[in-house]
């Protein structure tokens, strides 16, 4: 099989020495991690490597020799290097030699026990730091939950895993006074940023404080006082409370003092943190815009006229329905009854609004302050205000729907009576039944009455259902926006933009200049994940689920007059 040598590009100009790394026998590949320079004592090298192996659980060993001769070829050096193969016994013993500044190196293998003919060698250069920091995302169909240690089905993930786990090897730099002198990507000394270190130190007490405050807040929320019936009903219906609860959960995740174990957990924490930060920043921006030039006062002033205007439009609509709407002839008596009933309802609503009007400005002023908790909270409050202002439309829809629903059920049951059938509740099917004459007579009478009153109720129901759907659509759009802000993984997207090698979908190879007789030279680069896959992999879960009803079942429900609740939240019991 072809021998593949993965050589770090940082070691290209290293002095002569021996190559240290991991040998993957099933793929016939050697992953070189570092170069150990002369002079060294073989016993100490072996001791150091076994210690590294114990800590990192990666089987590191001496793989071969590396000679970088600046002058002409030195004959005795090559013999010396071959002899090293007998001290560090490794099958096959790889010898790479570079002459002067030539790009084309010669690579040969030396096998003691087998007499294989000269096999081909492929030299693959890789950027050690990038491969170490990168996280390989397997394609979705091969993503299984097997442990990374054993059973590396993907060969590339074995290589990434080797380099990532060997962090301890990269800790010794050239300024260490040890017996071993290594060259790798960090051999010039580890770099760190003071700001990052300070933030790491400061984050521990900050997290503890935050966790304490959150436990207080959640304790209050869970106390018995708030569980009484009217309040608990209110909390469930208002979407602002849902959103606040969701954000509280997020804060609890961030402030937990357990370190993130896996990459996914770390990314999730980072995404939640950045999302919260951006949310609060946008909320404060919105708040400052609202309170400058007293815009919130103007908003409060226009709220009552808008509510009045909506009520007037509804009254006009009802007057139109009470006349001859669209040329249809309605049943005068039923029309007048329904119309007057709804008109009186609107009159009550207007009176309540006018009762509340002196307090509106103050309430709105204080409620607007809560926008500093985040833009999502502000949007949820807007959605709740819309729901409260259009409460009469909701009531009308419920009345119309119930009336229509009763009518439809009555009609279907009486139609079955016409045909001599009956609904058998025990067996949940339609059975034949013999009716008495007086039953048939009354049934027919009722059927006729209901049938001729159907157009009137149907029209009222249609008009109010359309209005209700309009309000539902507006609320739905706002919730869609809130969900988008909640679930977008901003940190992952920024990472993909700025440090694209951290999120790898795979690798790509580039063929470098070749020379006859020398091994094939390839450059391995990291192929970053596409933005779509980044969003899909790291999306934050939200609390609402999208309309579960398909279009057909929605239409069926509308036709039968059943109440529709298209936006159901997770955790709510089905109605």
């Amino acid at each position: 099989m072809v021998l593949k040598v993965f050589f770090p590009s940082c070691c290209s100009s290293a002095e002569s020495g021996i190559l240290v790394g991991r040998w993957l026998s099933e793929q016939s590949s050697a992953v070189i991690l570092a170069v150990v320079h002369f002079p060294f004592i073989p016993f100490q090298v072996k001791q150091y490597l076994s210690e590294v192996q114990r800590v990192t659980k990666v089987s590191v060993s001496v793989l071969g020799s590396w000679s970088n001769s600046k002058q002409e070829k030195e004959e005795n050096l090559s013999k010396f290097l071959e002899d090293l193969g007998t001290i560090f016994s490794h099958e096959p013993w790889i010898q790479i030699s570079k002459e002067g500044d030539s790009k084309f190196w010669s690579c040969s293998t030396f096998q003691k026990h087998s007499n294989n003919p000269k096999e081909e060698v492929i030299l693959v250069y890789y950027d050690q730091r990038k491969v170490m920091l990168s996280h390989l995302h397997p394609p979705l169909d091969t993503a299984t939950s097997t442990d990374q240690e054993t059973d590396d089905a993907s060969k590339l993930s074995a290589i990434f895993h080797t380099v990532a786990k060997s962090k301890m090897l990269f800790m010794t730099d050239r300024y260490n006074d040890g017996p071993i002198k290594l060259t790798h990507w960090q051999s010039d000394g580890a770099e760190a940023s003071i700001i990052v270190e300070l933030m790491k130190q400061a984050s521990v007490p900050a997290c503890m404080l935050l966790a304490f405050l959150l436990s207080l807040v959640s304790g209050i929320c869970r106390s018995r006082v708030l569980k009484f019936w009217p309040l608990s009903f209110l909390w469930r219906k208002l979407s602002t409370c849902e959103q606040l609860g969701h954000r509280l959960q997020h804060l609890q995740v961030i402030s937990s003092n357990k370190k993130a174990q896996t990459q996914t957990q770390l990314m999730r924490k980072a995404n939640i943190f950045v999302s919260l930060l951006i949310d609060v920043a946008l909320g404060i921006l919105l708040m400052s815009w609202l309170y400058r030039k007293n815009r919130i006062g103007h908003l409060a002033d226009t709220l009552i006229p808008v509510a009045d205007h909506v009520a007037e439009e509804l009254q006009d609509l009802l007057q139109w329905l009470m006349g001859a709407p669209a040329g249809l002839k309605m049943n005068r008596a039923l029309d007048q009854v329904l119309g007057r009933f709804f008109l009186y309802h609107i009159h009550l609503w207007i009176s309540y609004i006018h009762l509340m009007s002196p307090f509106i400005e103050m309430i709105l002023w204080y409620v607007g302050l809560s926008a500093c908790l985040g833009l999502t909270v502000a949007l949820c409050i807007l959605s709740d205000i819309i729901a409260l202002l259009t409460f009469h439309i909701y009531c009308f829809y419920v009345y119309g729907a119930r009336l229509y629903c009763l009518k439809i059920y009555g009609l279907s049951s009486l139609w079955r009576l016409f045909r001599g059938k009956k609904w058998n509740v025990l067996r949940q099917r339609v059975d034949s039944c013999s009716y008495d004459l007086d039953q048939l007579f009354i049934g027919t009478l009722l059927f006729t009455i209901l049938l001729f009153l159907l157009p009137t109720t149907a029209l009222y129901y249609l008009v109010f259902a359309l209005l209700r759907l309009l309000v539902v659509i507006v609320q739905g759009l706002i919730h869609l926006l809130v969900d988008l802000i909640d679930s977008l993984p901003l940190y992952s997207i920024l990472l993909r933009l700025c440090r694209s090698y951290r999120l790898a979908a795979g690798v790509k190879f580039r063929v470098l200049e070749q020379q006859d007789g020398k091994p094939l030279r390839l450059l391995m680069q990291i192929n970053p994940l596409s933005y779509g896959s980044v969003v899909e992999t790291y999306r934050l879960p939200t609390y609402s689920c999208y309309p579960k009803d398909s279009w057909t079942s929605l239409c069926k429900k509308l036709f039968l007059g059943e109440l529709i609740y298209p936006w159901k939240h997770k955790g709510e019991k089905q109605d």
């Binding site: 072809v2 593949k4 016939s28 063929v511 091994p519 192929n527």
Partner: protein, 186 residues
């Protein structure tokens, strides 16, 4: 080095095969470039329509909107739609790399490891009103040794005809044969 063929729709394409080493080959198919004729035709059509609208409505925003749309449309077309070259790099015992280069210089690469590749075959497909041949890579199903989990079609934008595909097929099979004859390492 470069040989001329025709694509399935009749346009001229060129195949370039390079052998880097005994087990590494690169096969690149170059698609016909963007024609100046079609570009000017589309631009003039859009601007004539915009001028007609301007004469009707006397609103100069229509003209600037048309220029804007043409520019944005051209950029989107060059960056996301127009593929200049599609290439296949087969490295025995490492894998197969498929690259598409767009007219704006963007390159989109996919690398499939040799362990996942079952075979490279020429298939037939019904495309619009024609039946065309296309080259594809069959991926191994990890659970079932005889099964195929996915089919990756190659050269989708240039759609070479059968003669070109046979050349590419022969090249690939020579390298894929090596992995069967070479004894697995212990």
């Amino acid at each position: 080095e470069e040989r001329r063929y025709r694509s399935a729709s009749g346009g001229p394409i060129a195949l370039r095969a390079r052998q880097h080493s005994a087990s590494c080959r690169e096969l690149a198919v170059r698609c016909p470039r963007l024609q100046l004729r079609s570009l000017s035709a589309v631009t003039s059509a859009v601007w004539l329509a915009a001028y007609g609208l301007f004469v009707l409505s006397q609103n100069s925003m229509v003209l600037s909107a048309a220029i804007f749309i043409t520019l944005i449309g051209l950029i989107i077309y060059l960056h996301f739609v127009k593929i200049d070259q599609e290439s296949l790099l087969v490295i025995g015992s490492l894998g197969i790399q498929v690259t598409s280069s767009y007219a704006s210089g963007k390159e989109s690469t996919t690398f499939i490891e040799m362990g996942r590749v079952k075979d490279v075959v020429i298939n037939e497909a019904i495309h619009m009103q024609k039946v065309i041949y296309y080259l594809c890579i069959l991926l191994q199903d990890p659970g079932d040794p005889q099964g195929v989990s996915e089919v990756v079609p190659l050269f989708q934008s240039s759609k070479p005809r059968l003669d070109c595909l046979i050349e590419v097929y022969k090249s690939c099979q020579e390298i894929l044969e090596q992995r069967k004859t070479a004894p697995p390492s212990n």
